[in-house]
Amino acid sequence: MNYALLAPEITLAIVAVVILAIGLMIPKGPHKGMVPLTILGLLLTMGVTGGQFAANVHGTFLNGMYYADNYASFFKLLFLTAALLVVLSSTEYVQKLPAHRGEFYALILFAALGMMIMAGSGDLITLYIGLETMTISFYVLVAYLTEDGKSSEAGLKYLILGAVSSAVLLYGISFVYGLTGSTVIAEVASSLGSSISPAIILALVMVLVGFAFKISLIPFHMWAPDIYEGAPTPVTAYLAVASKAAGFAALTRVFLIGFQQQVYGGSPEVVLAVLIAVTMIAGNLMAIPQKSFKRMMAYSSIAQAGYLAIGLLAGDQAGVKAVLFYAMIYVFANMGAFTVATLIANAQGSDQIKDFAGLARRSPFAAAVMLISLLSLAGIPPLAGFVGKFYLFSAVINQGWVSLAYIGFVMSMVSVYYYLSVVKTMYMEPGEGLPKIGLGGASKFTLFVTMIVTLFIGIYPTPLAQMAISAAKSLIR
């Protein structure tokens, strides 16, 4: 029992509890001092995790129930980065919240903790605990605007559907336990061998569905648009970026370690490919008619989940690397776009695309960051999204799924249409009478960081690619 391996989780847990306690102790008010504290805590945790990553720590816990490897560390860094960007971008937004400002940060930290546990767990029950820690935090976060009907509705919907998906996942886990007598993923794999039976398939499907809900693969995506639209904008960003990545972190480990022989080469692989194709096609198509930016981004994020799942389908080192790489750059691109949306929501109280009109004049910097983020999401070179998609598609082509790559290419092109429609609104339409968008220091910093990273990784992707390779190698040897 080497507790040093758990250092990131322990650090974050302590930070989160302390932040919660501080939020209780200081008098009710703007709670401004909590932002630097939260950031400090996140940076501390990132430092610990980064240290583990750099040292290439590789350890297991309690007979394989918990891993501390580079794969987990990479995802932990991703979650922490996302949390950090969310905290930074939402500082002004939180000031306008009606109540409970103090808990906002604690909840974000608890959600991050849950994700970290998901990324590290090598046991289905531990995984489930992490998943619930994350999801319950999100239930609260989504329904944060108690005065706003849409937010409450979104919260309730998420609660019910989330519970449904958790139930299915738990049912699947119980099947696995019944079939193999273990919930440790590695033991499940050795116990199952290459055998297949309807019961195994049922377990497999249920586990898959539990995560497919989180990563919003079609047809388990129905919750996403409503909840993305209703949730407070920074929470939507966090949900789209981190929660999805956490789903991938867990699903990839379960599939590639636990059900490797059942999934790949058989019909589950084909079914997964079909799901991915449908997700890419329908996600992108449904984004086109949207009027609300957040709703559009919800469909966009569904489509992005389709791209990401391509790497999972490839199922080899290159595929995992591509997933890791893309998930990381997705954080920055999406956070850039959502930070601008948060600014708009703050200044104009709206998330309609038409309210972005004239942003190029009202705040050229924000408009530029939005442009770069959206183009990166669409996969236009020389931005990071292009490299990410390149890795994903080349990985899956190498596994023989050329058709899927073609669909990905074509749908990327389709996605340019709705991304650019936002750009068109920002740059071409006058937007008279709309207020100037003031950039606070934290928002400016967030925008700057996301833009620089998106550009830099696009031009020189090797450092991140090396990190992703090292992480992928620790998962698949």
Binding site: I196, M222, G266, F390, S394, T462
Partner: protein, 656 residues
């Protein structure tokens, strides 16, 4: 083999980085302060110059130069890795690096580019004084310097191509610098589009090489070249390498203004004169020659027909441009055609098999042609934008420094002993004869005569002709004359590097080649000098003291053809108007009705499907949950059937 390398080599990346820094600073911060901007730019390029000299010292004077020929120094950073893609000879993974490659060729180019760029920037302080776009001008100059130096240092073809396009962009920006002039805008577009034709072939050649060898690194490519690739016939009896070499050569045809893509260079004179000196005489236009030198291994392994073609085209261009230059009256246009002619010489040198002489001529030409352009700029500056040589005259007495340096340059380009041009031109012609190309030698010699003739014509009319009353010429400020003096000195001594056992040829030669000392053939040299002198004397005799062109009166028809540059531009205009436009119209119709129809149809379909899919999103929680559960069941059934487990399902789920 591990070679002790000079400490400076790893810092080569700083050379292009300095102008880039200056570009960023001027572009983003100091563009409102012109003087500060130009100072920053000059300080940065001078730093690069010092670094380049340091590196050149390492190459040529620290004893590693010879080993660099066989083992160039490379410092690379990994740029991109693509795993799981099979291309060419690489097994499974290939990567692209970004880095610097240092060998004597690079050393020569670094010196030439940083030197001329520094001098031109200093010169520009005087020349561009008071221009509205002063800061913008220096920003572009810095960007160009960065791109050109990046091109020179590039360690692989893709990197080279990137910078190749960047210098093209800078050329476009600087030709069209006075964008309010219609002619400048048109010339910029013409230059950009014409060179793009050649770049297209170059890009295809790069893809060909990549496809076959899976790498673009020069050193690796050179190692992989072998006779084995000769045999595979791909197209019309040409081997893969031969085809690739032909395609690659189309890059230099465009960039270095070889016939028939030479038309852009004379028009490029619309840019400020220092720009013409830097970009369109000394550096960018020789990028094509540099590319030939860099990829010389490819031409050596391709069929000999390629090099023959290269040599013939170069020779033709040299003669072709020289004849046009005789009949031109615009001082800058004469120099432009002279540049084309000299570029033809360099390409000719490559073609007859002496990369050494080509690079040598590149260097000396950079000195005297930059000098000629800067001198012309000084004259134009003094005469308030008059460019017709018949409007000049009598400048010799008023502008002593400009006149003297200009005279040196004329002697140098005419190949008079012991000026710089003599050594390099003589080496080209000598090698042509030695390697069995008597026709090329003869044409080259005749071109040398023409060169001496038209340059003397220019000098006699502009500097020695009768003084014009309306002109009040004055010598330019020291910022403009200092570069002239420096370049004048180099135009005298620049060729002497060839003297002691031919040090230049010892270093600048193809990778892996064996150095063979090549003693001067004094007979041939004597013939060259005599021919040059003959050209000068005849020009002096014809033009001295004349007010108009006597040749135009004597041979009106020939003169008209030459004056109109053989009507090549008109021919292109006719083709474009009648043929390309016709095709364009057909394609336009096709685009409007077929392509747009398909695209619009697809867009409509996408919108329609999007709307249709959207209907499923009712907002009702129950519907969501039902879809969820049904999807679970459906997935289960599909996979079960797909895995052939349906039978087992009928037996209580197959749980044993």
């Amino acid at each position: 083999m591990l070679i002790e390398m000079h400490a400076s080599f790893q810092w080569a990346w700083l050379i292009p980085a300095m102008p880039l820094l200056s570009f960023l600073i001027i572009g983003f911060i100091t563009k409102k302060w012109p003087q500060l901007s130009s100072t920053i730019s000059i300080v940065c390029i001078l730093t690069s110059f010092v670094l380049a000299v340091w590196i050149d010292f390492g190459i040529f004077f620290s004893g590693v130069g010879a080993s660099l020929v066989d083992h160039p120094f490379q410092a690379t950073v990994h740029w991109l890795t693509f795993s799981g893609v099979h291309i060419g000879l690489t097994p499974n993974t290939f990567g692209l690096d970004f880095g610097t490659l240092i060998d004597p060729i690079t050393g020569v180019m670094l010196f030439v580019v940083t030197l001329v760029a520094s001098l031109v920037q200093i010169y520009s302080v005087g020349y561009m004084h008071g221009d509205k776009g002063y800061a913008r001008y220096f920003a572009y100059q810095s960007l160009f310097a960065m791109s050109m130096l990046g091109l020179v240092l590039a360690s692989n073809l893709l990197e080279l191509f990137l910078f190749w396009e960047l210098v093209g962009l800078c050329s476009y920006l600087l030709i069209g610098f006075w964008y309010f002039k219609v002619s400048a805008r048109e010339a910029a577009k013409k230059a950009f589009i014409t060179t793009r034709v050649g770049d297209f072939g170059l890009l295809i050649a790069i893809l060909f090489l990549f496809n076959k060898f899976g790498t673009l690194n020069f050193v690796d490519l050179a190692k992989l070249m072998g006779p084995g690739f000769q045999n595979a016939i791909v197209f019309g009896g040409m081997s893969y390498l031969t085809l690739t070499a032909f395609l690659l050569f189309s890059g230099p045809i465009g960039k270095s203004g070889q016939f028939p893509l030479h038309v852009w260079l004379p028009d490029a004179m619309e840019g400020p004169t220092p720009v013409s000196a830097l970009i369109h005489a000394a550096t960018m236009v020789v990028a094509g020659v540099y590319l030939l030198a860099r990829t010389y291994f490819l031409f050596q392994h391709a069929s000999p027909a390629v090099l023959e073609f290269v040599g013939s085209l170069g020779t033709f261009t040299a003669l072709f441009a020289a004849t046009i230059a005789i009949a031109q009256n615009d001082i800058k246009r004469i120099l432009a055609y002279s540049t084309l002619s000299q570029l033809g010489y360099m390409v000719m040198a490559m073609g007859v098999g002496t990369m050494t002489a080509g690079m040598f001529h590149l260097m000396t030409h950079a000195f005297f042609k930059a000098l000629l352009f800067l001198g012309a700029g000084s004259v134009i500056h003094a005469l308030h934008e008059k460019q017709d040589i018949w409007d000049m005259g009598g400048l010799w007495k008023k502008m002593r420094i400009t006149g003297t340096t200009f005279a040196i340059a004329v002697l140098a380009i005419s190949g008079i002993f012991p000026f710089a041009g003599f050594w390099s031109k003589d080496e080209i012609l000598g090698t042509a004869l030695k390697n069995g190309h008597p026709v090329i030698y003869a044409v080259g010699l005749f071109t040398a005569f023409l060169t001496a003739f038209y340059m003397t014509r220019l000098f006699v009319i502009a500097f020695m002709g009768p003084e014009k009353k309306e002109n009040h010429p004055h010598e330019s400020p020291w910022m403009m004359t200092l570069p002239l003096i420096i370049l004048g000195t180099l135009s005298v001594v620049g060729g002497w590097v060839a003297i002691p056992a031919h040090g230049f040829a010892y270093y600048v030669r193809p990778w892996g080649s064996v150095y063979e000392p090549d003693p001067m053939n004094w007979t041939l040299a004597g013939i060259s000098v005599v021919v040059g002198l003959a050209g000068m004397v005849s020009a002096y005799g014809i033009y001295n003291g004349k007010e108009s062109d006597p040749l135009a009166a004597a041979f009106p028809r020939v003169h008209t053809v030459l004056k109109n540059k053989y009507y090549v531009d008109e021919f292109y205009a006719w083709i474009i108007k009648n043929i390309v436009d016709g095709i364009g119209k057909v394609l336009y119709w096709f685009d409007i009705y077929v392509v747009d129809g398909i695209v619009n149809g697809l867009a409509f379909l996408a919108r329609f499907l999007g709307n249709w899919f959207r209907k499923a999103q009712t907002g009702q929680l129950q519907v969501y949950a039902i879809v969820f559960f049904f999807a679970v069941v459906a997935l289960f059934l599909i996979i079960t059937i797909g895995d052939g487990q349906l039978a087992a399902l009928t037996q209580l789920g197959g749980v044993r």
